[in-house]
């Protein structure tokens, strides 16, 4: 099917904001709120970006919530300052790791963005690397198009009254954008590439972590289709499904354009907008009644010979005369032209919905009304389609114009567009693809020169390539490369190295880092705070023979639980170790006993889950009564059983 996928990976960098000295930490407290109106502007070539012009109309009102971590620069009340050198170096380092060519002069641009997410009406961005080639862990040869350093946008906030509100705390946080060439040919590879780029970025130690610090845009096209940009993919795991769904959507649209051409209906559909409000004077449709009461008109657009192209709920999955079962295998909700025209009308005018004849009668519109409309418009029910919009006259007119435009585009196949991804991997039209007219130079920032000596300095600071590092550490510690790879992938390798050089036994450390800490229940928040010193103390207890290594499985949770309850780590550690050293052998014995018991009674546990604690408790108590506190036994049993049940 000629699938071509390209990725745009965005990742926030650490440090202060890119063009001012404000902190890059998000901040919820509003100190002030302002109202702005964004208007259109021309690029250096005198053009107006089409996407921007469609989005903004004349002017657009936006509110901004101003936070402590913002100054006059964010709200466009003061020119930007020169970008922070350390941030620039981080961007250049990432460019290097991806094998891109770093220009000897960096030019920042203004990218027109009029959704309101930037008070200036543009986002500042500059190329820090072009081209580049890079092999992912799975061995995929990846070609980079550009690496850009840009500022993140303001955060859109929910409002009750539907006004546009953005919080500027995120605005200006430096962000690296990596665009690959669109030559990825499978949905799964797309995900692997994104994941691999992510790891490379993290290896620099210069990127932010956590929710909202990373996002992917995915460009998808199929044979005969067009480039469609899927915005804001937060979770890598959804990429394959998103790509597949989009590929199918495009294939259906390509198929539809063929069908439309075969159908013999010419693509010169007239734009006839007819007021049919009279027919609905006493309609039972609640939607229509509400709108009419507010002064709305019911306008219609006749679409001759297009019956069946918009899709009914029953007819999903069939494009006129051609079963598409082979395409829609595994997809239960194939979209048709209906949602496409609805999205165009919605984005262009803000109307919530429209009716098309393939879905009528429904939504309270009666069969009789449908018949009346068809007869009033002189249309043939079997062949002709029509679209109804109920809104104030000018809004309804613009909505139908948008519908008309989208129907004409269907003859050409897939319109190039930007689509928003929704929770369930479906996507929704946002705007046409922006053209090059949206970019013009940021004249407030002079070109920034990059000298070869700058690159030398950055190179000296480059992180060790993954393979080399794994090989080296495996050799130094005597552990398997597999284990070290695991530490690397969990991003624990730096900590591991530090702990080893602190005198900890590598094998015991890897057990704590890989097997114990990640398996702690999430409520043990203290685990995150467990210091290197704490880990080393535990490991040394084992190395010095004071404690069996199996006991670590219990010591660590005990310790983190205490820390989670607010106890100081030092105090908690001493308490736990005192307890161990008092009856260290017993504890070890107990730990082994319980682990063995739980394995033996697996069937019982899987059947009764936590209710198995009671009977097993009895068995343990038979042996350890009087030697160990019953509460501790209960706790350890609960933990082991919980782990087994959780693994199932």
């Amino acid at each position: 099917m000629g699938l071509r996928v390209g990725l745009e990976v965005h990742r926030q960098l650490i440090g202060s904001k890119l063009f001012c000295n404000c902190s890059g930490e998000l901040e919820d407290r509003e100190v002030h709120r302002i109202r702005r109106r964004l208007g259109l502007s021309r690029s250096e070539t005198g053009d107006i970006d089409r996407a921007a012009s469609l989005e903004i109309g004349k002017t657009k009102q936006v509110f901004y919530s101003i936070t402590e971590n913002s100054c006059l620069v964010e709200i466009d009340e003061e020119p930007p300052k020169m970008p922070d050198r350390a941030t620039l170096d981080a961007a250049l380092m990432i460019s290097m790791l991806l094998g891109s060519h770093i220009p000897d002069e960096i030019l920042f641009m203004r990218k027109i963005v009029v959704d309101g997410s930037n008070p200036a009406g543009f986002q500042r961005t500059g190329i820090v690397g072009t081209g580049g080639q890079y092999t992912t862990e799975s061995g995929h040869e990846l070609f980079i198009d550009t690496v850009c350093l840009e500022e993140d946008a303001a955060r859109k906030m929910d409002t009750e009254d539907g006004t546009l509100l953005y919080r500027v705390d995120r605005l200006g946080i430096p962000e690296i954008e990596i665009s690959t060439k669109p030559d990825i040919s499978s949905p799964e590879t797309a995900r692997d590439v994104a994941s691999s780029i992510g790891k490379t970025l993290r290896s620099t130690g210069k990127v932010r972590r956590g929710i909202g610090t990373i996002r992917q845009d995915v460009n998808v096209s199929v044979e005969g289709g067009n480039r469609v940009e899927l915005k804001l993919v937060q979770d890598l795991r959804t990429i394959p499904k998103l790509v597949k769904m989009e590929a199918i959507r495009q294939m259906l649209l390509v198929e539809m354009s063929r069908s439309l051409k075969d159908n013999g209906s010419p693509p010169n559909i007239p734009l006839e907008i007819i007021d049919i409000s009279d027919i609905f004077r006493s309609t039972n449709s609640r939607v229509l009644r509400t709108q009419i009461a507010k002064g709305g008109k019911v306008l219609s657009l006749p679409l001759r010979n297009l019956a069946g192209y918009f899709g009914t709920r029953e007819r999903h999955g069939r494009v006129r005369g051609r079963p598409l079962s082979e395409i829609r295998k595994g997809i239960d909700d194939v979209k048709r032209l209906g949602p496409e025209i609805a999205a165009y009308a919605k984005v262009r005018t803000g109307i919530k919905g429209l009716f098309h004849s393939d879905e009528l009668p429904d939504y309270g519109v009666s069969e009789e009304e449908v018949r009346e409309v068809y007869s009033a418009l002189g249309l043939d029910r079997d062949n002709d389609a029509l679209v109804l919009v109920c809104a104030p006259r000018d809004v309804a007119t613009r909505a139908l114009e948008a519908v008309h435009e989208r129907v004409l585009l269907a003859y050409e196949g897939v319109p190039g567009e930007v689509r928003r991804t929704l929770d369930d991997c479906r996507t929704e039209y946002m705007r046409p693809l922006p053209g090059s007219a949206r970019m013009y130079p940021e004249t407030d920032i002079p070109p920034i020169r990059i000298e070869p000596s700058d690159l030398e300095l950055i190179k000296a600071d480059l992180p060790e390539p993954r393979e080399e590092r794994v090989r080296r550490i495996a050799h130094e510690t005597g552990l398997s490369q597999e284990l070290i790879s695991q530490l690397n992938d969990l991003e624990l390798i730096e900590r591991f190295e530090a702990l080893v050089s602190g005198g900890g036994d590598p094998k015991l450390l890897s057990r704590i880092l890989i097997n114990i800490i990640p398996n702690l229940p999430p409520r043990d928040q203290g685990s995150r705070e467990l210091s290197d010193q704490g880990i080393l103390s535990i490991v040394k207890q084992v190395s010095s023979g004071k404690m069996a290594k199996e006991a670590m499985d219990d010591i660590v949770p005990m310790l983190t639980k205490r820390i989670g309850n607010g106890e100081d780590e030092g105090v908690a550690l001493k308490g736990v170790l005192d307890q161990i050293s008092m009856d260290g052998d017993v504890m070890t014995e107990l730990s082994i006993f319980i682990q063995t018991l739980v394995q033996e009674k697996k069937d019982l546990i899987l059947d009764r889950e936590l209710r198995a604690v009671g009977p097993l408790m009895g068995e343990v108590m038979k042996v350890f009564r009087g030697k160990v506190d019953g509460r501790m036994i209960s706790e350890m049993l609960n933990r082991e059983i919980g782990r087994m049940v959780g693994d199932r």
């Binding site: 302002i34 964004l38 002069e105 030019l107 081209g131 970019m439």
Partner: protein, 463 residues
């Protein structure tokens, strides 16, 4: 073109100039971090080199819209694909003149409000024509019938006394041709100086003369020019008393603007869009979506409309500094016609200059004392330093901000140029101390300063 040296030779060799669509083949040498060099072929538009770019570099606009700066050494071949491609179709809104029966003349003078980015120099440059500006105010046709005139196309720091005369004559012409009001689009740096100057040159104007500027150029979506211009047009066609006004943002929101009196306003911030504040006076009014609400309108003028152009440029404005002012005062005595001092506090100057000042006045050179506090009035009767200055012949400027005292002095000097040296200071004082355009406040009320100013804004519904 801006290219020079080798880069220029290279482009000429390929027969390519800025604006051309070209295929560029690049060979990047091995960079520090890469094992090998790299080849790249791009179809892009050649741009002119900005003045701040490396001389050896060639600037390309990629298909994505990004500009890329490439050293000429890295370019292995260039092929012309298309000579200066025509720019995409631009739907230009035609400048609608409106049909409201209220003619307003928009005089363009330059400045940020009329600016476009100059991609050759990379700087913001006054270039927009009034027609283009009209395009920037979408709904102007419902407000007034706009007519255009261009008086100059300069940044406001380049405005001189000659320009003030020119603007005055343009305003006169506009009223003569039936305009009910005039809007002057001006750079903000010296906007308050021009508003003061025109307040003196335009005697009893028949309608509002509104100076307007913008702190963000019109080529950015966030420009404040749109609202400022729209509100200026509303004021110009409002039928308010004929006077010179300034209309600019009230806050950093695009929600309301303030009307300031031309002689009682000053730019108080270098970058914010609400930089202009009324000084020692309430704003005349506020304009928002609901139209104009008056706060303290000037009294309607009496008498015929006339103009009185001409300024004496040999008037010096200095501030009372700690450093040695003696050579400067000597220079004023030898080469200037009048002196305005922005004195400390209520209008003071170190007593060590007292005799120098007395000497200057004796030469027939009027010396005016304003306050560098900007807010508040001079009062030379409170401290002995002040009393000594009065005794030396210094003329207090009252609550005129220093720049207004300065411009008024320039204007007054030109009016009395025929007067003999002996009578010059007294003639100057007589005219200077006459209130001509609301510049001499007789009382200073609450609400014009400090937290009361903010409360006053809130009180009139400005958010």
């Amino acid at each position: 073109m801006m290219y020079t040296g080798k880069a220029k030779e290279l482009l000429e060799g390929y027969g390519i100039g800025p604006g051309d669509l070209v295929r560029v083949e690049m060979t990047f040498p091995r960079q520090t971090h890469r094992k090998n060099g790299q080849q790249m072929v791009l179809d892009c538009v050649l741009l002119d080199r900005g003045s701040r770019s490396r001389e050896e570099n060639i600037i390309l606009k990629l298909d994505s819209g990004y500009n890329l700066s490439i050293h000429y050494d890295h370019i292995s071949n260039m092929t012309l694909l298309q000579r200066t491609p025509p720019s995409g179709k631009v739907e230009r809104r035609t400048a609608s003149t409106g049909n409201t029966g209220k003619k307003v003349t928009l005089i363009g003078t330059g400045g940020t409000i009329a600016s476009m980015v100059d991609y050759r120099t990379g700087a913001v440059h006054p270039a927009m024509t009034p027609t283009e500006m009209n395009e920037a105010i979408p709904d102007i046709s419902g407000i007034c019938d706009l007519e255009h005139a261009i008086a100059s196309s300069i940044l406001s720091e380049d405005v001189s006394c000659t320009h003030w005369d020119m603007f005055t004559m343009e305003v006169e012409k506009a009223f003569a041709s039936g305009a009910v009001g005039v809007v002057i689009a001006h750079g903000t740096d010296t906007l308050a100086s021009t508003s003061a100057a025109l307040s003196f040159t335009l005697r009893n104007p028949p309608g509002p003369v509104v100076l307007v500027g913008s702190q963000r150029s019109s080529d950015r979506p966030s420009s404040d020019a749109r609202m400022n211009l729209e509100h200026a047009c509303i004021l110009a066609s409002s039928g308010l008393p004929g006077a010179v006004y300034v209309v600019m943002h009230a806050t950093i929101s695009d929600s309301a603007s303030l009307i300031h009196l031309g002689t009682k306003v000053r730019k108080m911030h270098s970058t914010r869009r609400d930089a202009f504040m009324s000084i020692n006076r309430m704003p005349v009014g506020v304009i928002d979506d609901d139209g104009i609400r008056l706060i303290e309108p000037p009294p309607p003028g009496t008498g015929e409309f006339s103009t009185s152009i001409g300024f004496n440029e040999r008037v010096m404005l200095i501030s009372a500094q700690v450093s040695d002012l003696s050579p400067l005062l000597d220079c004023v005595r030898d080469r200037y016609s009048a002196l305005v001092i922005a004195g400390s506090g209520m209008g003071h100057l170190s007593s060590r200059y007292l005799e120098k000042v007395r000497g200057i006045v004796k030469e027939g050179i009027p010396v005016v004392m304003a306050t560098d506090c900007i807010n508040g009035s001079t009062d030379l009767d409170v401290y002995s330093t002040g009393r000594d200055l009065i005794d030396a012949g210094v003329i207090p400027a009252g609550d005129m901000p220093p720049h207004v005292a300065h411009i008024k002095s320039m204007w007054v000097m030109e009016r009395i140029k025929g007067v003999s040296i002996d009578d010059r200071v007294s003639s100057f004082a007589e005219l200077f101390l006459t209130d001509l355009a609301g510049e001499m406040g007789q009382r200073r009320t609450m609400g014009t300063f400090g937290i009361e100013y903010l409360e006053m804004l809130k009180g009139i519904g400005v958010d």
